[in-house]
Amino acid sequence: MATLDLAGPEGPGTRLFALIRLGAVRSGRALAFLGQLPLSAVVLVRAQAPFPVRDMLRIAVQCSAHALPIVLIVNLLVGAILAFVGAVQLVKFGAGIYVADLVGIAVTREMAAVMTAIVMAGRTGAAFAAELATMQANEEIDALEVLGVDTVAYLVLPRVIALTLMLPLLYFYGCAAGLLGGLLVASGMMDLSPAAYIARTGVALDLAYFALGASKSLFLGGLVAMTACYCGLHAARNATGVGQAATSAVVSGIVGVIALDAVFAVCANALHI
């Protein structure tokens, strides 16, 4: 009978140990990166070091205005799908009008924030990671470090600030698109008048839902940007590294968004929101 040799010099034991060590090193690196961000921000403010405001504005435009079409399409379709699925079931019970409640609450509490963050992880997160990984491969980041520039303050902070501030705005835009998608399906499929749908939506919604969604978007924006920048800064210095950084940024970003949303769901439940 074969036994598992965990102690052999070249056996699974060694590989397991190497994997654990790699995991520990990577976790340590990620934690160091997380700690470096606020430290760099403090040093930046204290030393009044030059901050790339122009770069930050350019990034803010890229991750907001340029993302409007895709955020519109995705959220419109999500609203429409929710309305469609809800309508099929609710009409059976003669409760078709409650489609407005379903769409309104789902979009404002969860879907607009999560779908917009996922879109931004795929679009902007990948772009951030690829841009920084290319800079790493081209020694541009080394050139900054030789001048004593804090690369976290100079490259990461503008991206994190831009996406953190822009995602809540995109969330409100996504809410409008999702509600519109629901309205289109409800009025098209169920012969509900738009006025009745809008009135019902108004009754169903609460400002607390928007507050929850917007504050969630703040955190999701920061998370997506930080994950992407981390992947970009720690990429291998070649073309494959750029591709891997973009892939890791998207995968980690999406998983992080879902996980953080779950945490928010638990907290919102505990706070009776």
Partner: protein, 290 residues
């Protein structure tokens, strides 16, 4: 005949540089050992450089030449030994001292490493923005002066992607020298350039030395460049992982007996040397014809 134009001197209060210690050389490397994790790259590297010296770092591929430059500029920490700028150990210094040390050198990277989101002018202005208290107008005036020197005045508004390889190298050189550092580090400046472009760059390096009095440390494989401009140098060996030759390329060419240095300086390849050895041995044992 007009005297060659000199670079504007930056006021000392805005570009302090490291505080020199009495009699300390500009750059002093003492028993440096370089490692990537557990992997040894080089050990026992010792040399020092004075002002106005052009110092070549030579060696076979993978011997750690560029890694040595990264240790000199503080991008990598030594596994053992010291890197002293004006007698000051970079890795033992506090943040303010490190910043002062950094004002003492400029670096041209192998790929030029121009920031792709900035124009050539902004690239050249950036070190002045970081290291000096000059205002925008002064920074631009100085950057344009240096761009004129490397013959890129007409390309100030261009982005790096719009430039040829040689132009990028010259723009990178302009960025490295714009703050008049006493030590200039060049990582394979001639790599990827045609012989004319390569020679032009060599002339620029000599010009920089004449005009600014800077010392230059450069990594190169190009024998013509090495012989034309280097005053002193070190030869790193990838196999023994230690320096196997010290002296100017001309001295190494004339006197060095180590087979790797000899093969490198004579433009022979190791394969040629091995083949020649085999041919000699085969000739000695083969029966004579006829």
């Amino acid at each position: 005949m007009n005297a060659p134009p000199t670079l504007l001197k930056l006021p000392n209060q805005v570009l302090p540089g490291p505080t020199p210690q009495d009699g300390a050389p500009l750059l002093d490397i003492r028993d440096l050992e370089m490692r990537f994790g557990d992997r040894l790259i080089q050990q026992n590297i010792t040399f020092s450089i004075e002002a106005r010296t052009i110092f070549a770092i030579m060696g076979t591929s993978g011997s750690g030449k560029s890694t040595l430059l990264k240790h000199i500029v503080g991008l990598l920490a030594p596994a053992a030994g010291k890197v002293l700028h004006h007698g000051q150990d970079y890795w033992a210094a506090d943040a303010a001292q490190r910043k002062a040390v950094r004002t003492g050198f400029g670096m041209l990277f192998q790929s030029a490493a121009l920031w792709s989101s900035m124009t050539v002018l902004d690239n050249v202005c950036f070190p002045l923005q970081q290291l000096t208290g000059l205002d925008r107008t002064e920074r631009e005036a100085r950057a344009r002066e240096v761009l004129g020197w490397v013959e890129l005045s007409d390309f100030a508004a261009f982005y790096p992607s719009d430039l040829s390889g040689g132009m990028r190298k010259r723009a990178g050189l302009a960025r490295a020298i714009v703050a008049s550092p006493p030590l200039l580090l060049l990582d394979e400046p001639s790599a990827g350039l045609d012989p004319i472009g390569s020679r032009r760059l060599d002339e620029l390096v000599l010009d920089i030395r004449e005009r600014t009095g800077a010392a230059v440390v450069f990594v190169s494989h190009e024998l013509p460049s090495l012989l034309a401009i280097a005053d002193d140098g070190i030869f790193l060996d990838a196999d023994s992982k230690r320096p196997i030759g010290h002296g100017s390329p001309r001295q190494l060419l004339a006197h060095e007996s180590h087979p790797t240095v000899h093969a490198f300086m004579r433009r022979e390849t190791v394969v040629d040397t091995v083949r020649a050895t085999h041919a000699t041995r085969a000739g000695a044992v083969a029966p004579s014809a006829g």
